[in-house]
């Protein structure tokens, strides 16, 4: 079962259209809600006049921050995000009021009838300007959300030892998750006073915390239930808390179920994005290609609210040098508030930005030294037992070299590198091949406590309920967890039913983020299933005349491992256990191995293990039009152990496609806080015609901390292809583009599509 690829356990309902997503929910008496959005990116709210809106027939409630019974703001790290703006709006996605009505049309009409008086405040849209003295202050205490650093050795000394010091600046853009399902919730009040919010939730426990605090309810009276989730990629977290708070408030005040959903336009304007980064790298290197020092300064645009900025930038600071041996490191990363759409978690979580910078940079340095990019990397990459930029000694198989070799040899790297350079002299369309590699800390790391639980319940008929607090969002978690439970209990996957994720069924096991599900949740499921199996073995031992320790569960039987003929079928063992009064519900809790981080010193053992990867992109670029065609991608990823190889392949292909969009197409255009790309005709993600052939190469170096040796896969897949494409373009056309995305205009003209924004007004 482990290492096989059974069909998705939630596949049938999805191919038949039976799967029930948030937008498919319909409760009797349900009201529809609409939001009144801010009209300025930064303004003081002087007066909200809801009188006209309230008079419209069919309107059930018009609520503002004044109606909030609890805390008006929430935030997982910094409490600053207001689902209903109280006295100030900080970006155009803020809401000043929310309406519930009999129909969505009436609600929309009522929202439009709300009149708000503002006093416009000076705004700031560039995070670097936001950090300057005298910039308009967006939150009390200044615009700096956080400052993280790493310190290793002495960079001044490192630069002295260098033969060459190279300085480069890079920038990345704001991008949208573009899950095909937009955000939606239905809030309803049970007769016992419990508020249930069902919807397109990624992180049910953080949403519950926000809703309970907002409504002044105990956690036990708020229940967050996940509907089938139409994609998330890190995106349905804070913005779902926002929707849940608003809809919950309306349900509480009206006593009726309330649906609140974002249109695509609202989603693009209101929901958080991936951070734009401005990155300055200074690198010292010896003639022979040995790195001596790196000094890195990064400013991240956090937008109006902190959201995950402190954690996103922390992941960046840990990984900023890339998987290289650098003796002297000084990295400083600042998160800044602006009046732009706020930014937060998005598959990659602070790594796609820095990977773009350091992997572009590695090719640039190799070029300066007249070294081959692959050879240059092989000489500098981290090896087993070496020390990272944060001073962590790597005590697992460090496979970045293996990944580089696997991807490049599958791609025919050396031959193509040579041949394309030759052929390009006479070709109109230039071919290029580029690569990027990375390392990535698995799970939450020193962001906080990392622990999660699972419940395995064996029913009297031998069917099995599996419950965790982690969610399916398409990645295949239900299938992988069911495989693990089935494997340990010796039954087919079909016997396991993964329960819908619901805060009322299990204790808080943290969020489904950081590619932590398999390694953390999978380990918890395994423990719970083993505990359940041990009970069955204990129950069957007498009947089989064996010691429980001699028994095993295979092929729907509990049997003596050394003598398979002495066996009892699974259901029989269940009956024996129940007859003996045993509890066949097993709860297990898994806590991550110890890690530490010293924020002051800028060092620590940031993560308990890492994954390594390399992607190679082969492209064709039309140097005259700037059009890039991504022909083929080879992606080699060390996952520790692939529990479900087909699902791993799905993650790789999806991550690569997302990164192709990031690298060549996508940008949420904001001009003075106004979103210009408000639907999918302007915000372009790759179609099937824009994604070339993707070859997945799965590497397995089992990790001592992972269940069956498994580590992770979801996020590293999305952090490599943009720099691989940029490097391939440089190979093909001799043009180094240091700003994302590599759209047509930028390749031809070398500058941004939209003119520079004016300074703070």
């Amino acid at each position: 079962m482990i290492g096989l690829s059974p069909l998705r356990v939630d596949g049938r309902e999805k191919v038949t259209g039976a799967a029930r997503y948030g937008q498919d929910l319909k409760l009797a008496g349900m009201l529809y809600a609409k939001v009144k959005h801010a009209e300025y990116p930064h303004a003081e709210i002087l007066k909200i006049d809801t009188a006209r809106a309230k008079k419209i027939k069919g309107v059930a409630a018009v609520l503002t921050a004044a109606d909030v019974p609890g805390n008006t703001a929430f935030g997982a790290v910094i409490v600053d995000n207001q689902p209903l703006a109280e006295d100030r709006v900080r970006y155009l996605g803020d809401a000043v009021a929310v309406v519930a009505a009999e129909t969505a049309e009436i609600a929309e009409k009522a929202a439009a009838a709300i009149k708000v008086k503002y006093r416009e405040l000076p705004a700031v849209f560039d995070p670097r300007e936001a950090l300057e003295p005298g910039a308009p202050e967006i939150h009390e205490g200044g615009n700096q959300i956080n400052h993280h650093k790493t310190r290793k050795g002495d960079v001044a000394e490192g630069f002295r030892q260098a033969d060459l010091v190279i300085e480069r600046s890079y920038s990345t853009q704001r991008v949208d998750h573009t899950y095909i399902e937009t955000e939606v919730v239905v809030a309803s009040l049970d007769h016992d006073g419990t508020l249930t919010v069902e919807g397109s939730h990624q992180n049910i426990f953080s949403i519950r915390a926000a809703v309970a605090s907002f409504l002044g309810l105990p956690l036990s009276r708020v229940r967050i239930v996940q509907a089938a989730l139409g994609g998330s990629f890190g995106g349905k977290d804070d913005c779902m808390s926002v929707l849940s708070c608003r809809a919950g408030l309306l349900a509480l005040k009206t006593g009726r179920p309330v649906m609140l959903s974002n249109s695509r336009e609202s989603s693009l304007i209101e929901s958080y994005k991936r951070h734009p980064y401005f990155l300055d790298y200074k690198v010292g290197v010896k003639r022979d290609g040995t790195l001596t020092a790196m000094e890195i300064k990064v400013v991240a645009d956090g937008g109006a609210y902190a959201s995950m900025t402190p954690f996103v930038t922390w992941r960046s600071v840990v990984h900023a040098t890339g998987p290289y041996r650098v003796p002297n490191v000084k990295t400083d990363i600042y998160g800044a508030y602006t009046n732009n759409t706020y930014t937060g978690a998005f598959r990659g979580f602070g790594s796609p930005q820095i990977t773009f910078a350091y992997e572009s940079l590695m090719d640039e340095i190799a070029g300066e030294l007249k070294l081959e990019p692959l050879e240059f990397r092989m000489n500098n990459i981290l090896r087993d037992g070496e020390i990272t930029a944060t001073g962590q000694k790597l005590d697992h198989t460090v496979s970045v070299g293996q990944a580089l070799q696997a991807a490049t040899s599958a791609a025919g790297w050396e031959e193509k590198r040579r041949r394309f350079s030759e052929e390009n002299r006479t070709r109109l369309l230039k071919r290029g091949i580029g690569l990027a590699c990375s390392y990535r800390g698995v799970a939450l790391g020193a962001e906080g406590v990392d622990a999660t639980g699972a419940i395995v319940r064996i029913q009297s008929d031998g069917s099995i309920d599996l419950t965790t607090g982690l969610v399916e969002m398409g990645q295949g978690l239900k299938t992988v967890f069911s495989q693990i439970a089935a494997h340990e209990l010796g039954v087919p996957v079909e016997r396991v039913q993964y329960r819908r994720t619901d805060t009322s069924t299990i204790v808080d096991g943290g969020p489904t983020v950081a590619s932590r599900s398999t390694i953390m949740g999978g380990a918890a499921v395994r423990k719970a299933a083993i505990a359940a199996r041990e009970k069955l073995c204990a129950a069957a031992a007498g009947e089989l005349g064996a010691d429980p320790a001699e028994l095993t569960a295979v092929g729907e039987k509990i049997m003596v491992a050394s003598d398979p003929d002495r066996a009892i079928d699974f259901t029989g063992a269940v009956a024996l256990a129940l007859a003996a009064g045993m509890n066949l519900s097993s709860f297990a809790w898994h806590v991550s191995p110890p890690i530490w981080w010293d924020e002051e010193a800028g060092k620590g053992n940031a993560y308990f293990t890492y994954v390594y990867a390399c992607q190679v992109a082969e492209i064709e670029v039309d140097p005259e039009t700037g059009k890039i065609n991504v022909l083929e991608v080879w992606a080699a990823h060390d996952v520790g152990k692939a529990i479900n190889p087909e699902a791993v392949r799905g993650q790789i292909c999806g991550g690569v496609a997302t990164a192709i969009g990031y690298g060549t197409l996508e940008e949420v255009e904001l001009v003075e806080g106004v979103t210009k790309t408000v639907n999918l005709d302007e915000y372009l993600i790759p179609t099937a015609m824009d994604v070339g052939k993707i070859h997945s190469i799965i590497l397995e170096n089992p990790d001592k901390y992972g269940p069956y040796g498994a580590k992770c896969i979801a996020e590293p897949t999305a952090e490599l292809c943009a720099p691989a494409i940029a490097n391939a373009v440089a190979h093909a056309a001799g043009k180094r583009i240091r700003d994302l995305p590599l759209n047509l205009e930028r390749i031809v003209l070398g500058h941004k599509l939209v003119k520079k924004q004016r300074r703070a007004r």
Partner: protein
């Protein structure tokens, strides 16, 4: 989206309704643009006049050296039509560049013209073909040269009581060759950043006649008269093409917007023309 809905059974009934409606009525052909505009609040007609089922506007035929395409022929059907594939390949190519299969299945040739977007894909091809637009009302029928049809972004000379019923153009001479070249940010579902269509008729080695149209570089699709004039009577060789390229870039009058920049568009107008002409060599 609030409106009354009417579905007349015949063209005659549709025209009568339009005449009576006094302007506050939007004819619905494929709906792929109109319904988006209504939803986005860009237009708010009192009545939507559903003409999508008028079979008499769905014919493609050739008569006396003229090709006529009914306004309600979908882009998908036009692209598959044997007559057009043989005689107006550039129009077929422009139809295939529209949106996605779903959009091509619903959206119509006539609708694309009535929406009057400067980046509408079929429009430059129809300019190059020298098409005329047939407008019908209860008071009569008139044919307007396609270049006179558009008056600005999303504006045309169609009166509110008129329906665009057909597009007509002379069947190109067998020796005529054309092309439609488009640049979009991605390969499907992309609105043109810039597009160029041309139809070239040659006599011997020399260009006898050429019509060039540029999309998305002005408030309407435009011709490139100076480039056309330059090319007439010349042999298509690399030198001529290079000169035509820079003339054409000079005739582009692009602006910077969300989709591209003026400088890039002007340059690409020249390039796309040159590429198309090179393919004819």
């Amino acid at each position: 989206m609030k409106f009354e809905y009417q579905r007349p059974a015949t063209l005659e009934a549709a025209l009568k309704f339009l005449a009576a409606a006094g302007g506050d009525c939007a004819p619905l052909a494929g709906g792929t643009d109109l319904l988006v505009m209504i939803q986005e609040g860009l237009v708010g007609p009192r009545t939507v006049l559903d003409i999508s089922r008028l079979e008499e506007l769905k014919n493609i035929r050739e008569e006396d050296g003229r090709i006529e395409i009914g306004a309600l022929v979908s882009h998908g059907r036009a692209a598959a039509a044997k007559l057009l594939r043989e005689k107006a390949a550039l129009l077929v190519e422009s139809c295939l560049q529209i949106g996605s299969p779903q959009i091509r299945a619903s959206g119509t040739i006539g609708g694309n013209l009535v929406m009057a977007s400067p980046s509408g894909d079929t429009i430059p091809a129809l300019y190059a073909l020298g098409a005329g637009v047939v407008l019908k009302s209860v008071t009569g029928t008139r044919t307007v040269a396609i270049e006179d049809f558009f008056t600005g972004v999303k504006k045309s000379v169609r009166r509110p009581d008129e329906l665009l019923t057909a597009i007509v153009f002379p069947a190109p001479e067998p020796s005529a060759r054309g092309f439609y070249n488009k640049l979009g940010q991605r390969k499907a579902l992309a609105i043109a950043k810039v597009s160029v269509a041309a139809l070239v008729t040659r006599k011997g080695e020399k260009v006898e006649k050429v019509r060039i149209a540029l999309g998305a570089v002005a408030p309407t699709v435009i011709r490139a008269p100076r480039t056309e004039e330059y090319l007439a009577g010349r042999k298509l060789d690399p030198e001529t093409i290079a000169a035509a390229r820079s003339l054409c870039a000079g005739e582009s009058r692009a602006i910077t917007d969300l989709r591209s920049t003026a400088g890039y568009r002007d340059r690409m107008a020249g390039l796309l023309l040159a590429r198309g002409l090179e393919d004819l060599l």
